[in-house]
């Protein structure tokens, strides 16, 4: 196996980590929609960290190993249309992911604030934050961008 084979494997593994992280967040988005008390919200914290790690490693790996492959593999160039499209989609997905994280962190912050104040009962504001509509829309948009990247990678339009 050549170095490029290994880099391709790492690129694909990174893509899997990224999408796996997105799936983790879909499950969490669904789980917190009915959560109006601090304790179950905070309990999701470690799973959120797993999702963050998967998305972080995945996004970092896809871009680093992807650019390596664009320069190293014969027949592909960094300025190929489908590669430029992937880079643009990746950047949009990264920003969308950052905004989604910020939207859902408000619920976690509120839960920690309530717990620190000794309030363990249902809280309407916490429920509203956990049900953030903007967070849901952003996560849907991020998932659509991830899907478009996958389509671009498989069909390679113009290659």
């Amino acid at each position: 196996m050549s170095l490029d084979d290994w880099i391709l494997a790492l690129h694909v593994l990174s893509a899997f980590a990224y999408v796996a992280g997105m799936v983790v967040f879909w499950v969490l988005v669904g789980a917190v929609r009915r959560t109006d008390t601090p304790e179950p919200t905070i309990r999701m914290g470690p799973v959120v960290k797993v999702g963050n790690a998967a998305v972080g490693v995945g996004m970092g790996g896809t871009i680093v190993f992807g650019i390596w492959l664009a320069f190293s593999v014969g027949g592909y160039d960094i300025w190929d249309g489908w590669i430029i499209a992937a880079l643009v989609l990746w950047a949009l997905a990264a920003e969308t992911g950052r905004r989604t994280g910020a939207a859902y962190t408000r619920g976690m912050d509120k839960a920690q604030e309530l717990e620190a104040a000794g309030q363990s009962g249902p809280n309407a504001e916490l429920l509203a934050l956990n049900r953030t509509q903007s967070g849901l829309v952003l996560h849907s948009l991020g998932s659509a961008l991830a899907l478009l990247i996958l389509i671009d990678m498989i069909w390679k339009p113009g290659a």
Partner: protein, 152 residues
Amino acid sequence: MTSVLAAVRPDSWNFPLFVHVLGAMILVGGTLTAASALAFARGDVRTLRLGYWSLLAVSLPGYILMRIGAQWIYSKEGLDDAPIEEAWTGIGFAVADAGALLLLIALIVGGVGVRRLRGGSGTGLLRATMVISLLLLAAYVVAIWAMSAKPV
């Protein structure tokens, strides 16, 4: 090898490959969610249920999609009629088939565990489901490496 990497496959192979890869990604995501939720539940019934349902409602449909896509692309490549004896297809089929059995065992064991949660027990069975999920994740990493690097 670079020429193989750069090769553009026939257009008719793209959709089956898309179905295969998308299914595999959903499978890995569901299994990662299940393993994490079950590992960090610390006996919390709601989190244990979340972990189990991730495996049932996300990983299982992902597996079915992945397996349908795999057979479809295998057939498109003409490998049904002329199978190839290469390590990457062997690893792929081994992980898919043994993985299906393990996933089924994890779902049955976890299902019994979830039912027993009402009576205050079942956490041990769900711990077994978590261990199987972690094993599956390790196997999936090997399979993804084999499918992409294609060792002969």
